[in-house]
Subunit: 462 residues, 2 copies
């Protein structure tokens, strides 16, 4: 049994190339394999019980109990919903070096009206949009930003559709590091843009798309001492794993049948899948949920990759969708995501813009807000139920990745009937989306308000 105090070293981790398997402890500044340039991932040799060399350094039962006990603690590392699970993360020399905004600890919400709408009995949402900066990115950023600080960097940087930049800027400010944020001009929601400005990032709008921003950042980190905080950074993936660990803990370690995730750059699905596989290996759970990934029709590189090449070769696309957080045509972590689909038995789905808007309004009707990219999960679930991949009696968890307030513009346009202008979309919208309800402007009179109330009452009785 390991010693379970915070200051005791936990198991050491190594970096391994997902392509050629080369192991290293020097990730370089681009987190690519020095031999084949593929992505790196973090592995924990000490956990390998199958190679006969040694036993895992802890038991699942002991860690489950320890993690639960930490919920009572007021130590910052224990209050973080990421670092509470630090035995399954890379080791940090000391809690002092950790940059935390008390990320994680996100709620599970039952979605009764959504469940009825798609035809399943048990449906809950794990709301990662309840993280400090309003998206799941924080869970990975606390680990990777802490690593940047430990390595002595003064600058960190990212390319972003908006959520990553908000998180990078916040954690950098918290650590008194400078941050550089590259975003596609005019394609990031105002809310997200305001976040990186507020936290003091150098915010650069480039005349290109997200994929172009990513390429340019790669060149910048080649030439300048800027620590790369995109999701190719394997420490981000490790932090994002904890959402799955926390989810399983909330479910008393009874895995659901399905977990549905939005697919953008595919770091999140990679992280959740990695967590599940590790939890299985370490005997925390005895069966794996199927992890399925949903993309917008206009930004469906993974869907096409699976359909056209069986997952062997990335099919890049020019991405277009109102769900800006997943407007990515050439996802960095596609290979990791393919492995997750294969190893958990999940599948992919794609959904239309109107289906996304319908799903977002449906989730809202359960009193839970999210950004459009998060709503693809419910839209995708509906398709997966219709196609028979998800059975009505199976249990389903949706991963909501961003807060409603991340993209108020989408919501306002939707309710004002401005989101869908072409005739085909309008027709689809009228069938699928009966939720549109614009604000009503009235003279300041109680009579006027009461007459609106009465109309609504009559309408709902009719």
């Amino acid at each position: 049994m390991m010693n379970l105090t915070a200051s005791e070293p936990v198991e050491l981790s190594e970096l391994r190339c997902i392509g050629c398997g080369l192991r290293t402890n020097n990730p370089g500044h681009k987190f690519r394999c020095s031999a084949c340039a593929d992505l790196l991932e973090i592995v924990y040799p000490g956990w390998d019980t199958t190679d006969g060399q040694r036993a895992a350094p802890f038991t699942a039962a002991a860690l489950k109990a320890l993690w639960r006990t930490r919920r009572k603690s007021f130590v910052p590392m224990d209050q973080s919903g990421v670092w509470r699970f630090r035995e399954l993360l890379p080791h940090f020399a000391s809690g002092e070096k950790i940059i935390t905004l008390r990320e994680g600890n996100t709620p599970l919400y039952e979605l009764p009206s959504c469940a009825r709408a798609v035809g399943v009995e048990y449906l809950v949402a794990k709301h990662q949009g309840m993280n400090p900066t309003g998206s799941f990115k924080d869970t990975g950023m606390t680990v990777a930003a802490s690593m940047a600080r430990q390595e002595g960097f003064r600058w960190v940087g990212c390319a972003s559709t908006g959520n990553t930049s908000a998180s990078v800027a916040a954690y950098a400010a918290r650590a008194q590091m400078r941050s550089l944020v590259l975003i596609p001009q005019g394609k990031v929601s105002w809310g997200k843009l305001s976040q990186s400005l507020d936290y003091g990032a150098i915010t650069v709008e480039l005349k290109t798309d997200f994929d172009g921003c990513s390429r340019i950042l790669d060149e910048v980190v080649d030439r300048m001492p800027v620590y790369l905080l995109n999701s190719v950074n394997p420490y981000r993936i490790e932090g994002q794993k904890t959402a799955a660990i926390e989810l399983l803990e909330q479910l008393d370690w009874q895995p659901p049948d399905h977990i549905i995730v939005p697919g953008g750059n595919l770091g999140n699905s990679s992280a959740l899948g990695k967590a599940l596989l590790e939890l299985g290996k370490l005997h925390f759970i005895t069966r794996l949920p199927k992890v399925s990934i949903v993309q917008a029709e206009g930004a469906n590189p993974l869907v096409r990759t699976m359909r056209e090449t069986g997952g062997r070769k990335l099919v890049s696309v020019r991405a277009e969708t109102a769900a800006s957080a997943i407007r990515i045509g050439s996802p960095a972590s596609w290979k990791k995501a393919v492995r997750v689909l294969e190893q958990t038995g999940g599948t992919v789905a794609e959904v239309s813009e109107v289906e996304i808007a319908w799903a977002k309004a449906q989730i809202g009707a359960d009193g839970v807000g999210c950004e459009p990219a998060s709503a693809v999960t419910l839209a995708g679930l509906k398709r997966l139920v219709q196609g028979g991949f998800v059975k009505p009696g199976e249990s389903v968890v949706l991963i909501l990745t961003g807060h409603l307030l991340k993209d108020p513009d989408f919501t306002l346009k939707f309710h004002r009937g401005e989101l869908f202008r072409d005739t085909e979309q309008r027709k689809e919208a009228e069938i699928l989306v009966p939720h549109e309800r614009a604000p009503i402007t009235l003279e300041a009179s109680a009579d006027a308000v009461i007459s609106v109330l009465k109309q609504v009452e009559e309408g709902s009785e009719a």
Copy 2:
């Protein structure tokens, strides 16, 4: 000792008029005293140990231990940072009736650069903007909305500057009740407006200000079966108390010297003060923090009420400030707030629009985002330190009430230099606010990005 299981009845509460002291169990639909029309508050006769009749039904030590133990529980009522403290709240028949979004559980953040900027040694923020809908309103709404459901209402309603409406709409949707939201036309941030639409509220923009919306709602609830969810509703105040209880728990029951709160409709300061007084009476703490209330110069009715009448008569104003959440000229809970100032020994302060913007950017520089109304606390603290009311060695807690994403427009305008246009303000802004940093638009080239980086580096070395 009381029995501490969830299903056991806790002490009964009563309603008491804050003006004439009349006790009642029928609050009416406007939550006003039937004799003198003043506000009602909830009292707990069973806690009175001073009248010699009976002892308090619990000890502070036992409750402290119980509340901490509940942090390990996965029961929804225990996971709520409001209902975890239910022994100090009005009794509900059953946990089944409770509407919760897992509100509360908000973080305490140290603010090192803000502390240096205002000249105090110990400064932390209790960030109520980390509640599910992004503002402190959720902590009160879970209690009042649960009461609405328990009483069988199908409709709930509020007048709002935006945060209340978001919270009302979310909790109503969660309980499958309908909600009516009255907001001043053109005066609510887009983010907040998008929330009430998303959660399905009937959202009515009235051609008047917040105070006008309040008056009209009063008439509506007179004539229609709509449950009033404004902060005159004393159940909201009870829920909002828990922020202070949670704060003290986070500080291991060692009260800070000062708590600084933004002042709008003054329900929040009333609630925090009530909690502190009750915690003192019940021997959870042995001394009271001073609660001070900060308003914008353009919306300063409490400041004027204290200055011009010594707190005896409300001085209403026509409110104008970019901090829209506290743009209120005739605050409903002014009498309760005056009592809190008197009983805790706190004071009032008012701050300029430029000072608010400065404070918000300063808080952002610590990696913590908030809406403008929250930032008045830091601006006010600076004034209180300068004036000698707060000593450099004293400990201070700022209550941040709303999330940064509640009002991205303010942040964008600020960084684009569009917030302050008149000459005097610009002059003040240039001295106070060196933080303005607009986004930079560049061609898609690494060279261009690197040249910006180098300029920033040179600038910060100079």
